[in-house]
Amino acid sequence: MQVTEGTKGRNARSDIRATEIMATAGARELHDGEVVVVGLGLPEVASVLAKRTHAPRLTTLLEVGVMNPRPKDPPVGLPDSRSFYRATCWSGFLDVMGMNLHRGVVDVGFLGALELDRYGNINTTLVKDGAGKIRYVNGSAGGNDVASLAKRVIVIMRHEKRKLPLAVAYLTSPGFVGGRSRQELNLRGGGPSRVITDMGVLGFDAKTHAMSLLSLHPGIQLEALVENTGFPLHIPNDIPTTPLPSTEELRLLREEIDPKGMHLK
């Protein structure tokens, strides 16, 4: 599962980075006792932060067959030996993706996206340039399975117009396709619930299933966010500000979880 990080650098109103706000917002979406399938990068950072703060009983699963690893060195990918360190269980796809995800016991799928549309459909397969020329990238790996089957899906990605288009260039992993319900689409999982970008936190309307703004990160102008969104976005009358990371959250992120700034740069 590919994850793309926010790299807009330090936040306008403080020395807090956008990635740190994203990681903290992601962590706060995870509840204690939940089971999460995570991709590497910000989803992993967010889930570790949640475990160290309000959700010590969070279970993290990596699709390769790793449960609750506690890496001491930053892994470059899921099958990197660094991500196997101090795990409580090593199994494989059939267990993690079959006997957990397909079984319906995974609460959260935490994904990245190359493109995401207003109904939460994810593209991780290809990009089209202006001339319509196609360039292939990673494809699904576990992404489609997670998006289809997890009880809810959280997407974390950079907020750019080309990454949030009216329609994804390839529908790798379904959200609420065409605004339809998950049941109509024959999908078991509940679908996308949150999109966390470097500009704000977004959700999905319970009826129309279209994306709507939930909060703006401190220092981000609404106009800038709308400008950087490639589809019509529901904007509520009152727009809350995304809470900043607490001092303790920042300390954990900077000193313990990602001291080298590999994902939080």
Binding site: G65, V76, L78, Y136, G139, S140
Partner: protein
């Protein structure tokens, strides 16, 4: 007791061009590099390759122009970059390929391993992955159907039974009993789905050693046709408990794979230019480099 230990050139000679081979690596870990290099040296053509999540091994084979049909669940070289050769081949349509997902490829192997000709799944619905499969030659491998008991909609997948499955393991005995250290992704299902099964082992141990922890035997010997013994056989990809990936070489590989001509230079230098894997290991830096990459026992990397 039979001794199944064979040389890679001997084993690869028994693989006809046009075979369906399944590869056991995942991105940059436990790739059957030693086998793939030899397939390239012996120019086995028109291969069908299936793999859960592709990595360097499949990128090499595709780049070398030996793959006619690719069945894959996705993949990249993780942070080192994309699978350039695979992606380029799809862009230029120089091969037939079908995109699946990690779980759907695993389920297709599981069905094959269990001797079921089909298996239901609840992934793929409402995706362009399924749409494209149904619109192309992949249509003969997927079919929508309802559960006869609950009425729920499923995609039925056709079993995958590769002609030969290859996996890289840490430990095997000469009868072929294999033990894998670390997570196993889809290896058990992929290996047992194969009509034939060849393993590459970092280390050959006695059967007495296997008998000390039989619960760790993921592949029993009677399923294995040949054991290729090759220390550092997966480099530049990593083998948990044995060695780390060679980050320098992975970067060098990605740099070369970006462009078809540079990729040919890579093949010339590191595949055709090496008589065997030992010579290749020398090019990667020989003993001194291997000792740098060798895993430290506590961390396993």
């Amino acid at each position: 007791m039979v001794d199944k230990v064979k040389s890679v050139s001997e084993v690869v000679r028994t693989i006809p061009s046009g075979s369906h081979i399944a590869l056991g690596g995942f991105a940059i870990a436990r790739n059957v590099i030693v086998v793939v290099h030899e397939l390239i040296r012996q120019q086995k053509r028109d291969l069908t390759v299936s793999q859960g999540v592709v990595g360097l091994e499949t990128d090499l084979l595709v780049g070398a122009g030996l793959v006619g049909h690719l069945i894959m669940g996705g993949g990249s070289l993780d942070r080192f970059g994309p699978a350039h050769c695979v992606n380029r081949a799809r862009e230029t349509k120089s091969l037939r390929w079908e995109d699946y997902t990690s779980l759907s490829v695993c389920f297709r192997y599981l069905a094959g391993a269990l001797g079921l000709s089909f298996i239901p799944i609840k992934s793929l619905f409402a995706s362009e992955i399924l749409e494209r499969l149904e619109a192309g030659p992949g249509a003969s491998d997927v079919k929508r159907s309802k559960c006869p008991f609950t009425g729920e909609e499923y995609v039925l997948l056709r079993a995958l039974t590769p002609d030969v499955s290859f996996i890289h393991v840490q430990i095997a005995d000469s009868e072929g009993n294999c033990q894998i250290n670390g997570p196993r992704w889809g290896n058990e299902e992929q290996a047992k789905a194969g009509r034939r099964l060849v393993v590459v082992a970092e280390e050959i141990v006695s059967t007495e050693f296997i008998q000390r922890s039989p619960e760790r035997t993921i592949i029993p010997g009677h399923r294995v046709e040949a054991v290729i013994h090759q220390p550092f056989g997966a480099l530049p990809t990593s083998v948990y408990g044995c060695y780390d990936y060679d980050a320098d070489h992975l970067r060098l590989y990605v740099k070369h794979a970006e462009e078809p001509e540079r990729f040919q230079e890579y093949l010339k230098a590191f595949v055709f230019g090496c008589r065997d894997h030992w010579e290749y290991l020398e090019k990667l830096g020989g003993l001194r480099r291997m000792e740098e990459l060798r895993a430290e026992p506590i961390s396993g990397y």
